[in-house]
Structures are given as C-alpha cells and as structure tokens.
C-alpha cells in the first residue's frame, strides 16, 4: 500500500519535472526557431525529468521521506531508464539527424544512423579500458559497466566546466579587467567599417559595369570548363576577365576586413555596456562578489593541487567535519544526528540547485552562440546528452558531501565503483582546466587592446 503511495508521489514529481523541461525548451532554448520534430523536445524533457528525479531521491534519502525499499526500487528504475536514454536513444537520434542533414545519404537514413550508433558504442566501450574503475568480477552487460563509463565522461565534463567557470566568473564580474572604451573609439571603428563597405561597393560597381559592357558586346563570359576550355583560356584570355579576377580578389580581402571590423565593433559595444552596468548598484554588488569568488577560486586550485600531490582523498564530508570542529573546539553541544541531517540537506540542496541552474544557463548561452536553423536539432540533442551525463556524475560526486549514513544508498545502487578514482580524476581535470583557462584569458586580454591601437 505504501509502495503505491510512494510510486504515485514519484510519478507526479516526474511529470512536474518533465513539464518544466518542456517549458524551458520552448521558452528559452528554441524561442527563435520553429520546432519541426517534436521528438527532440520530448527527448530533452524526458532526460531533464529523470535527472531531476535522481536528485529528488537523494533529498528524500536525507530527509527520510518515503519507504526505504520503495526508494531503492525507484533508484534502480530511474538509473536504468537514464542509462537507456543516454546510451541508446540520444546517440541514435543524434546520428539520425546528422545523417538527415547530409543530402547524399538521405535515402538510407536509418541504415547510416545505425552504423553511426554502432561506432559510438564501440568507442564508448573502449573508453573504459585505460581507467581502473571496475573490479573485474562484473559481467559485461551490468549497470556498473555502463555507469562507470558514463561517469568518466560526465566527471570530465564537470571538471572542465568547473575549472573554466571558477576562473571566468571573477574575470567577468570584476570591473578591474574592463578595458576603457570611449565613444570616440566606437565612432572611429564605425567610420572605418563604412569606408570599407564603400570601397567594396565601388569595386563591385566596376565589376558589374564591366560585365554589362562585355555582355552587350556579345562576349559571353564563360568559366573555362572541360579540357579544351582550359587550353583555350591559357592562350586567348579576354582582358576584361583578367581584370575581373583581380578585382574579385581585392573584393574578397576587403570583405574579410569588413567582417573583422564588424566583430570588433560589436565587441566594443558589449564592453561599453558592461562599463555602464558596472556603475549601477547591481554592478557594484557583482564586482564585490567577483573579489570573493576569486579568493574562492584560488583556494580551490590550491586544494586540488594538494589533493593530487599528497595523494589524499577526503574521508569525511564537510558537514561531519564542521560539526566535529564545533563540538570539539568550540565546546558547543548539540544534537549531532538531528543537525547533521538538516545541514546536509541544506548543503546538498544548494549544491544541486546551483549546479542545475548553472548548467542550464551555460547550455542556453552555448546554444545561442553556435546553433543555426539547420543544426539546431543536433545541437539540442548533444546538449541533452551532456546534461544527462553531467547529472549522473554529479550523483557520483555528491556522495562525498554526504555523511556516511546517507551514502549507503548510492553505494548500494551504483554498485562497487571505485569512487575515489572519480574524485582524483575530477581534481586533475579541474586543475588542468583552471590553469589553461587562466592562460587563455590572459592571452585574450593582452591581445585585445593592441588591436585597437592600430591606425
């Protein structure tokens, strides 16, 4: 009986999350495009829904809501469904849509997408070989095999994003790094842009006039086609066409220049807006946060280095540690069990919410930057895949932040994975990502003002 009640609660919440994913897809991601294939929207919302349910189960675990056995059942079921989606459905559809875009293979779409999926599975399986993630006593088609590989990819992604985010966040928030842009700079660039466009136009006018006179005089301007055409064009080339190719080359160079100028002007406008924003109250608040985050970022890099150098993986979670410190050093006595439950709930809740929110925002920005009307389906599916893998590996890593008694269910459900390996791997990739982001941002920052100094 209680199992039925629990299941109905779970299903209701799943439907809620599904609806939220659907709305997010329609309102945010696809607001400038038309949804032609509803299958894409369904897959995205389903992935989002099941990922959020996993987090919900963790929270329920901490709070002790629902029956323990029904929780376990739902965990298993959820995990199976998510793995099914991430390993079978989404890659297959990605292959299908990629193949649909290519004209040549249009007829045998299904065959080629199956081929693509098989290639993906092969590489996915090979991924597990160099990593010591499993004890050898597991069969080939067990959950542990799939989860371990998904976990590796997801943890790599998480660490890359965290590293870049940790460095980028203070860089964007703090106004110390903002270049000084005046209105005259912008006007000067705009004038250059318009001058370049005028030069392009005058050259094209010459070409159009030349083509017109050639056409009127009866010389039809043929591109040399075939063998005889090439031989003929070597010996007898009309002077008009030679001129045209020369002018065409100049026009190509000018068009490239105009594109560069356009991008630079847009960049300057963006910087000017940020300068104005930083003078507002909100801007000052974010500036202050930026200083705070830069300290946090430096501390995290430091901790990651120490973890790697001293080969140490934290045994106790921050909550128990904090309580130990307060009890032992500050001498404050309180009910450890009661408080640890609530504090870990709050802590884990914050981690979950911020990571979901951060991921969705990053995905949206990424999507706007690179998608076009042709590739939007493929990109959204890729994002759904990334999101699914990210959430699965967050579950792996969140285990570290929870006190021992709540870790059991994750350990039970996910089987005997080498969790320590994942934490070590996270630290390594985080360090690499943070350091290379610092280098990258430094170079980009240095290069930008020099561009505007040029006459």
């Amino acid at each position: 009986m209680s199992f039925l009640i629990d299941s109905s609660i779970m299903i209701t919440s799943q439907i809620l999350f599904f609806g939220f994913g659907w709305l997010f897809f329609m309102r945010q991601l696809f607001k400038d495009y038309e949804v032609r294939q509803y299958v894409v929207q369904v897959i995205f919302s389903v992935t989002f829904g099941f990922s959020c349910t996993m987090f919900e189960l963790i929270i329920f675990e901490i709070l002790g809501v629902l029956n323990s056995s029904s929780r376990y059942f739902h965990w298993k079921m959820n995990l199976c469904v998510i793995l099914l989606i991430l390993v079978f459905m989404v890659p297959f559809y990605i292959g299908y849509f990629v193949v649909s875009n290519i004209q040549l293979l249009h007829k045998q779409r299904l065959v080629f997408s199956c081929l693509l999926w098989l290639t993906f599975m092969y590489f996915f399986w090979k991924l597990g070989d160099p990593f010591p993630i499993l004890s050898p006593k597991h069969g080939i088609l067990s959950i542990e095999q799939l989860i371990s590989r998904v976990g590796v990819i997801g943890v790599t992604l998480m660490a890359l994003l965290s590293g870049f985010g940790a460095v980028n966040c203070p860089y964007t928030y703090m106004s110390y790094f903002l270049r000084n842009v005046t209105d005259t700079d912008i006007l000067a660039l705009e004038r250059r842009l318009l001058q370049t466009m005028d030069m392009i136009i005058s050259k094209k006018k010459r070409m159009a006039m030349a083509r017109r006179t050639m056409f009127q005089k009866g010389e039809v301007h043929n591109k040399p086609s075939g063998f005889w055409g090439m031989i003929k064009s070597v010996t007898t080339s009309a002077p008009g066409s030679e001129n045209l190719t020369l002018i065409q080359q100049e026009v190509d160079a000018l068009e490239e220049l105009s594109r560069q100028l356009f991008l630079e002007t847009a960049d300057l406008y963006a910087t000017k807006e940020r300068i104005e924003y930083s003078k507002t109250f909100k801007g000052k608040y974010f500036n202050f946060l930026g200083y705070f985050f830069s300290i946090y970022c430096v501390w995290k890099i430091f901790m990651a280095t120490i973890n790697i150098v001293f080969d140490r993986v934290g045994k106790t979670d921050p909550v128990t540690r904090g309580i130990e410190i307060t009890v032992n050093y500050l001498g404050i006595q309180f009910d450890v069990k009661f408080w640890s439950q609530h504090i870990s709930f709050i802590l884990v809740g914050i981690i979950i919410v911020t990571s979901i929110r951060g991921l969705l925002i990053t995905l949206t920005k990424f999507f706007y930057a690179i998608s076009s009307s042709k590739s939007s389906n493929v990109i959204v599916l890729l994002l759904a895949q990334i999101m699914g893998m990210y959430f699965v590996s967050s579950v792996l890593l969140i285990r570290m932040s929870m006190p021992l008694e709540y870790r059991t269910i994750i350990t039970e459900v996910l089987g005997e994975l080498q969790f320590n390996f994942y934490h070590r791997w996270f630290d390594v990739i985080f360090l690499v990502s943070a350091l290379s982001s610092i280098l990258f941002l430094y170079l980009a920052h240095k290069q930008a003002p020099e561009k505007h100094m040029a006459p």
């Binding site: 495009y33 038309e34 318009l194 017109r212 068009e255 991008l263 847009a266 009307s373």
Partner: protein
C-alpha cells in the same frame, strides 16, 4: 560610373532564410553554390535600367545590403548593425515559407530597421497582431519575399500563401513568393524560375521611390 545614381536597399530576415542566395541570384544571375553564414553585412551591386525602352530611361546602381544575424541578438550586435541602416531607399524582408517563426520575426526586423521602439505592452507579439499604425507614416517602400516555395507540399501551399498575403498587407508591402534553386546546377543561367519576377521587383521599388 560614379555619375550613375545609387539606390540603397536593405535585405533583412532571419538566419538561413536565403538572403545571401537571393542577393547572389539577383546580381550575378547565378545560383549560389555554397551558401554560408553571413557575418556582418555583405553588399552586392546590380545595374538596372529604370523604365527601359522609354525616353526617360535611366541607369541605376542598386546596392543590396544583406545584413546577417538574428533578431534576438545581443544589443551590442544590434547597435553595430544600426550603422548599416542609414539613408536607406528600400527594404526587402525575406522569410522562409517553411518556417512560421521567420515570418513572425519580420515585424521586429522592420521595426529595427526603421528605428522605431517596440510597442510597450510587454507582450511578445506572436500571432499576427500587427499594429498597422507603426507603418502608416512610413515612406520607405517595403517588399516581402517568401523563399523555399518548392519545399512546401502541394496541398499546404494554399494556406501558406494566404497567410503570407495577410502578412504583406500588414506591412503595406508588395509580395513575391519564390523558389531559389539550390539543389540543381543550371547551365543556362537565365532559365532560373523567379527570374521573370526580377523586372517587376526592380520596377516596383524604383517606382515608389519616385513618388517621394
């Protein structure tokens, strides 16, 4: 060459509707072989004989400014684009007949080009509820072109064409629905369908121009 008068026409529309293909077709009499994303603005020129064959025949350079980007771009990109909108003689709005959102976005494109502010209702206009007053005092002639007609199934053509007819009325603009052939390579450049509309289009714009 410089003594010929110039006519500046903007070509606006969402990403991927076929603006660059259209401009290439009009100016080079050829189909664009490998269309790619337009960054910034690309210009092409066409020499046109206005009122050909009559004693008032005059030759004009029509500059087609093909502005790239989407209507939901960052405001910095919009401010940069605004530099192209000065002293415009005509506007061509291009939308994709297979994509309803591109037709709806034409409203925002035209507002951006005409430098008007959006109606401050705060609600995103998405169902064709255009405010005709915004365009009532507009002197710049508009032309609405719908592309990719060949990709619409025969049975649906009628409803799509009625919808676009309403659209063109709202803008008080002339309308053409075209096929821009991208898949076939034609030997004789003049046999491309849609080309017969060329003269009508050129005449239409310049005719209204001379009413100013």
């Amino acid at each position: 060459m410089a003594s010929l008068d110039r006519v500046k026409v903007l070509v606006l529309g969402d990403s991927g509707v076929g603006k660059s293909s259209l401009v290439h077709l009009l100016c080079q009499n050829q189909v664009l072989g490998n269309p790619s994303w337009t960054v910034g603005c690309s210009v092409d020129v066409r020499v046109h004989d206005y009122k050909e064959g009559t004693p008032e025949e005059k030759t004009y350079y029509i500059e087609l400014w093909d502005v790239g980007g989407s209507v939901g771009s960052a405001s910095s990109v919009k401010s940069t684009r605004a530099v192209f909108y000065n002293s415009v003689n005509g506007i061509i709005l291009v939308h994709d007949l297979t994509n309803k959102k591109s037709s709806q976005n034409l409203y925002r494109w035209s507002l951006e080009a005409l430098n008007r502010d959006l109606v401050p209702t705060g609600v995103l206009v998405t169902n064709g509820d255009y405010d005709r007053e915004q365009f009532a005092d507009n002197q710049i002639p508009l032309l609405v072109i719908g592309t990719k007609l060949d990709q619409i199934h025969e049975t649906k053509r009628h409803e799509v064409l009625t919808r676009t007819a309403f659209l063109a009325e709202d803008f008080n603009a002339e309308e053409i629905n075209l096929v821009i052939e991208k898949r076939y390579f034609l030997r004789e450049g003049n046999q491309i369908p849609g080309l017969p509309d060329r003269k009508r289009f050129g005449g239409g714009t310049l005719k209204s121009l001379h009413y100013d």
